[in-house]
Symmetry: C2
Subunit: 327 residues, 2 copies
């Protein structure tokens, strides 16, 4: 798994993201997620990321599956804002700007070029590409709008702030002097003007891996559908799978299946069954967090390896006890 981790100033907009207890902690979320994936606990990060209500980061679930299944994982630094102790591969990315201003990812072309090289060299016979970037569904909506494929995106909040996202994207298109669809067939422009560095790097990685003949699974929700859109607009016609959670797939505010159809993507949906538990992870079933840090891809991996979801839930509870309660 390549976890593409970065930040965008778009996440600073009030009410846009639940990927962190507050705006300052949200800057730490991708760095902390990378540490969780690599080591199973925060090292430099102040704490395990939780939502404002205490729902733990999906990286905890990805790590739990990793402990059960044992897949290799590398983090790509696609604009981290805070230090991480996890090993990271650099692709020349800085934190992304607010999409309401012109050119939030001025280095998009370089990030993509470097990520293509990394995608070619990292790749085994198959690769999962995941993401962690607070505010990432809003930038995904921005990219989809620029491409002219404006499917509704999901949210880490139980109440998707749909109107706010639409407003932010309108402001972004205006600031970049783009009409919807103006970046059709021009993925670099779409990411540079309306995206974030994580979308740039995930697109490049997937493209490089596909060029090297590797089977790519995009592990995530509507952000990964935006990456699929970028690949299609770049003329890539290789088979693509997006592996996500039931919490994203069941989100009525997101047009997951319509986007998957439009981009000719196989959808693999896994339900970890967190709902019944008397535990903070039960909030996933009430629409919090939903997905991220490769969670959907990790769950798919667990299912394919025959690891029962009960074992995943058990490992998540144990990890939570060690690194959230125990901290």
């Amino acid at each position: 798994m390549a976890l593409v981790a970065g930040t965008t100033r778009t996440a600073r907009i009030d009410g846009i993201s639940a990927a962190g207890a507050d705006a300052d902690l949200r800057d730490h979320t991708p760095s902390a997620d990378a540490e969780l994936l690599a080591y199973g606990r925060p090292v430099y990060a102040p704490a395990v990321p939780v939502s404002p209500t205490g729902c733990p980061t999906p990286a905890l679930v990805t790590r739990a599956v990793r402990e059960l299944v044992g897949f290799e994982a590398t983090t790509v630094d696609a604009g981290l804002a805070e230090p991480t102790a996890a090993p990271t591969v650099g692709v020349g990315a800085d934190p992304g700007g607010d999409i309401r201003e012109p050119g939030p990812v001025p280095g998009a072309a370089e990030i993509i070029e470097k990520s293509i090289k990394i995608g070619k060299i990292l790749s085994d016979s198959n690769i999962l590409v995941g993401e962690t970037v607070p505010g990432g569904t809003t930038t995904a909506l921005g990219v989809l709008a620029a491409l002219g494929d404006r499917f509704g995106v999901s949210s880490s909040l139980p109440e998707n702030p749909v109107a706010l996202k639409a407003e932010v994207v309108e402001a972004g298109l205006a600031a970049s002097d783009l009409a919807p669809g103006d970046a059709a067939g021009r993925p670099v422009v779409a990411v540079r003007e309306m995206g974030d560095p994580v979308l740039a790097a995930a697109f490049g990685l997937a493209r490089g891996a596909i060029d090297a003949g590797v089977r790519v699974t995009l592990a995530g929700g509507t952000q990964m559908l935006a990456v699929a859109g970028l690949l299609r607009h770049a003329g890539v016609d290789a088979p693509l799978t997006v592996a996500t959670t039931s919490y994203v797939a069941d989100d009525d505010t997101a047009e997951v299946r319509a986007a998957a159809d439009a981009f000719d993507v196989d959808l693999a949906v896994t339900d970890p069954g967190f709902g019944g538990a008397d535990h903070p992870v039960a909030r996933y079933a009430r629409g919090e967090a939903k997905e991220g840090a490769g969670m959907g891809g990790a769950l798919m991996r667990a299912e394919r390896e025959g690891v029962p979801m009960a074992a995943v839930r058990e490992r998540v509870r144990t990890l939570y006890g060690e690194v959230v309660d125990g901290a």
Copy 2:
């Protein structure tokens, strides 16, 4: 293996280092070494590092052993000056300054603190700590002088520029307002005023691993003896091994055994037998490169795993053909 990779402006002094064909390429050497170790070939780096006469970097040997033996490897970014495609762990380090100016490693305390955390978390049952930093034997001499243990250091050049190094260290002590031995018992001061960020990080990593109960082998030559000195001056009395090549151990200009005795270090010396070959690596036996990028530790590992040195030489020649001749 943790490969601690960084740079110091001290390497820009004319005639001080052969770790790169010229001063500009020397800035790329640690980044390229990390790529070789991780992937077996340069990715972002312009070429495989060679000395001015074409002798290949010791990282090629470390990689060859890794392909034969299969050990895990992580690079620590201890002040890289150029991008690397290898996964790196950050410890908050910037490139080091010229030791002839005051405070060449102003962030030494933070680098050490973070590296201790990394040493604790990276560690398995045992760890090899290697280094790649052009100019590193001169900064090692500087640190040894500051500690008051002025043993002669080795060189990547066939003719060790002993007088030049002594002159640079004198200028450094004067600039830092230190007499030899003034930093005895104060390893942070020794590194901050006379060292480089790689020595800071290697010291911290080793200390963290030892604190976690892990057996540490310092893989390298006189730079690693300087790290052992820093550990002893910090009051660490755990057993320490320095694993190096016969090319360093046989260097009459370096006081390898005297330093090992003084710091109560076990010396493990391995001879890869490069001398007989009609190949650029034969230059090792004529005193070029000699060691670096964990080469001595990797060779020790090969020996302990029963891999014949003939197989190592064969793999080195194959790799050289692929990534130097073939490039």
